[in-house]
């Protein structure tokens, strides 16, 4: 690892100025857990790293709106802060559940919500979860700000729609009392591993009847992907084994899955059909 400049601006103007450079080796970073691995592997050789940890204000903190209808989560919030937040536990239990198998304590103490979203690795656990919750990211740059649905952050494998100079400042997550969510992290080698598939589901149900549903697949695809055909099949349906099987088939048909060291394409497609059904059963309270 060659030497580089590390700066910690304390206000946004300075941060934008430091990042105002076409060189892709000038980068912002949150916790740095992913970036450090890329640097050690010499996949990324920074010239200047701009830490966002001293920006404060909107980059920090977890706040629930007064009417308890949404969360504002600062981009520099660490996973540990999410994991141990009583409000998150009460209103977004899927986040607390996901943290149990996400990386390890040392990583969770350092990794940040914003850095995780900006990394673009399709194997990450949280992006599909934020997607199924209907979350949006507040992006700021020197000329303004915009709200972007999480799904629209991703363009492909390790590819985001963020431009040089864009910073993820906040995450806005709606609280939807009528919905229940679950994240299935499917590993195929050791128990603790990167997922072969990540399946995040949210369902608004009345008994066995599905009023609305959102399904996101990650890890087996090049970016977190809504399974629209499977959703269409389930929306308005009463859940039974046959419906779940058809939803599994629809899911397999609508995505392109490649073979990798976590499993052949054929096997991962099979796992998708099985675990999608199980995830739906889990949220429906089976």
């Amino acid at each position: 690892m060659a030497s580089f400049e590390l700066v910690e601006p304390t206000n946004l103007e300075d941060a934008f100025a430091l990042l105002d450079d076409d060189d892709p080796a000038v980068r912002p970073f949150g916790g740095g857990t992913a970036l450090m691995l890329m640097m050690k592997a010499q996949l990324f050789k920074p010239v200047r790293l701009v830490s966002l940890r001293r920006l404060g204000q909107r980059f920090d903190g977890i706040t629930l709106s007064q009417d308890a209808s949404s969360f504002r989560i600062g981009a520099m919030t660490t996973f540990s802060q999410l994991e141990h937040s009583p409000e998150i536990g009460a209103y977004l239990p899927i986040i607390t559940q996901t943290m149990k198998t996400l990386a390890n304590v040392r990583v969770r103490n350092v990794a940040t919500v914003g850095g995780n979203l900006a990394h673009g690795d399709p194997h990450l656990d949280l992006p599909p979860v934020w997607m199924t919750l209907g979350a949006e990211a507040l992006i700021v740059n020197k000329s303004g700000k915009r709200l972007v649905p999480i799904a629209d952050l991703y363009a492909g494998y390790y590819e985001t729609t963020l431009a040089q100079g864009d910073l993820i400042a906040e995450l806005h997550v709606p609280v939807r009392p009528a919905w229940r969510s679950f994240y299935a992290k499917v590993t195929t080698r050791a128990e603790h591993d990167w997922p072969a598939l990540g399946i995040a589901v949210s369902v608004q149900a009345e008994g066995r009847y599905v009023k609305d549903v959102s399904i996101v697949l990650s890890a087996a695809v090049d970016k977190p992907t809504r399974l629209v055909a499977a959703e269409d099949l389930l929306r308005g349906a009463t859940i039974d084994e046959q419906v779940l099987r058809r939803a599994g088939e629809a899911a397999v048909a609508e995505v392109h899955i490649e073979t990798d060291n976590r499993g052949s394409a054929a096997y991962k497609k099979h796992l998708l059909s099985v675990h999608l059904g199980r995830a739906i059963q889990t949220v429906m309270g089976e």
């Binding site: 690892m1 030497s3 050791a190 128990e191 603790h192 990167w194 060291n261 052949s264 054929a266 096997y267």
Partner: protein, 762 residues
Amino acid sequence: MVAVTSSPNIGKSIDRLEAREKVTGRVEYVHHLRLPGMLYGKIFRSTVPHARIKSVDISAAQALEGVYQVVTIDDIRKVIPHPYYGPAFHDQPILADGKVRFAGEPVAVVLATDKRIAEEAVGLITAEYEDLPGVFDEVDAMTSETLVHDVLKPAATFPDLQHLKGRSGTNVALDYHLLHGDPDAGFAASDHIFEHTFRTQQVMHTPMEPFVSVADAQEGRVTLHTASQGPSFVRIEIARLLGLPENRVRVVVPHLGGGFGGKLYIKLEALVTALSMVAQRPVKISLTMEEQFYMVTRHPCTFKIKSGVTKEGKILARHCEIVWNGGAYADIGPRVTQKAGFTSAGPYDIENVSIDSYAVYTNRPPCGALRGFGAPQTAWAYECHTDMIADALGFDKIEFRRQNLLREGRPQASGTLMRDAALDQVLDHIVDRMNWSVPLNKGTGRIRRGRGIAIGFKGITAPTTSVAIVNMYGDGSCGLYIGTVDMGQGSDTVMAQIAAEVLNIDAASIRVIHPDTDVTPYDMGTLGSRSTFHMGTAVRLAAEEAKAKIAALAVELGMPEGSNVPLAELFRRKYGMQAGNIIGTGSFIPAYEKPDTKTGQSTKATPFWGVGAAGAEVEIDTETGHIKVTKLVNVADVGTAINPKMVQQQLSGAGIMQLGFTLTENMVFRDGQLTNGSLADYKIPNLLDMPREFINEYVESRQKDGPFGAKGAGESTTIALSPAIGNAVADAIGIHLTDLPITPESIFRALQEANGTPLAGD
């Protein structure tokens, strides 16, 4: 469990001598070492598996500020004219010499005062290759026209490999044969014949401390500080390379963070020595965790096993054909081929046995010794095969084994008699701990359960020598000088216990002097479960000699026989002050007879037998193939457990390691390229993979010629674990898997195949 003896030192779980230093972070490791003027080396590696090197462009790297020198084989040849090394064959060039033979092979080294600069400079080196066809599979390599080496170069280092001759036109480095009885007649007389083929995958040692070596070459001598399991061997091989006498090469080894057979023989030592000679400065190379995949690994193998069985369940004949994939350089593979070969028919009393075991070269990273020395790969075949026969003929799996087990005094396939091998006791203990007499609820829904057992054994590398020195100082305190490397197994403590028992002193008061070839005497290496038996005996002899000399000194000073005057007082009376030493030495080499090269027969093929058995219960989700080992029992014969707590840690550690080799660890290659060379993608087991019930025990037994009845314990629980799990899987789903690792996908594929709905290839 063995009853605690009345001895003050033997059978006592005393704490590790270095425990406090370790937990307070003060233990010495080579990684901490910095010498004045030291340069850091970083390796530029081949990106292709088999090619002629057309050119290597080092100019940009050389021009980078802070780079001291970029070194290729041409520079090394100036200081070492014949830069080839290896324990069994002198086949490995210190840096690639005209050709590369595996992807990841060292081609050049950047030396710099800062390791980050060295790393950056490596990224500026480019090489042009003329690709050659590669051979990667061991069975292909037997007949392939692609040759990894044009001429084979046996080293003639070991007495048991001295018959090897240089050959050409083949990838077979060594072929080992054993013939016992008349297999043709045995098969002809059998009622049933079974033949199965098993495969194991390539895996890696993954020590927590990656390879690291420092060399300081000066005019006519060299000092090495290295994380090595075999300092004596390093000295001999470096002295040979440099044409120096042994006393001009000093090898110093502090504690190791694990070795498992990887840090044996020559690894980075030849390279750092050459670099230090070229640069005339001390040189250090520390591998990253990821680079370890290109240093040494465990042999994949293909094992075809055929048995003839009578209708009553007696195994009459067995033929074993094993091909070991040794990778691009032989390392100790030929010895693995021979040593694991001779026990590959399993711990059974079979009158007619033939074994053909082949070490072959391929264009993969080299393979060498790894905890078990090939025995785990062979047991995977012969113990799954045992259950497959029992299943086919409706035999009880325990009784079928008992009926055929080798017993005390019976000849093993090599002709060597079984002595002090507690096979029956170990099997009985497993049966008991598995509650085998109580039927298992196997389930009827999507979760199916099964259980399996297996038993295995291994011979111990022979012949090998250990020498120990006990030095009693002027105040009566004791220093123990041994070449055994404590890499976490606790040898310092056990050796101190043995010396303390003889000298009747407190083990914790003994200072164990770590390997330094200027100071400590010869030892073959800390390998193959040999230290407790070999070095333990040498330590016992050295302590006995010191004790006799102390008694003689007392007599010389006119003390009455049996007087208890302390040694410090004896010294004071003899020398008039606190002065002097009493030195006891002990040297041990067990009896050995070289096996006949055609029939493998020997009356003394091994100094003792390593024995282990395992039992497993598994749960399988038949919808996904997901497997969970819910119970795992390891039972070993360790003779007397000198330190019961550390023995148990050895047994469980070896078991966990083998659990990884059974279920999760697999070096995956595509066209000779490793595709998962990092711990993010090469999965060693962690706590979540541990069985809910995990039992590690040893049986009451005694190795009569071992120190206080002890034998080695480091490998016993690696042997039978994989087939125990394989047999449990078969019990759960009715299908015997033949290839390791057993993965959810391999289980699911087998289920689909059996259902007549095979899963697509990808």
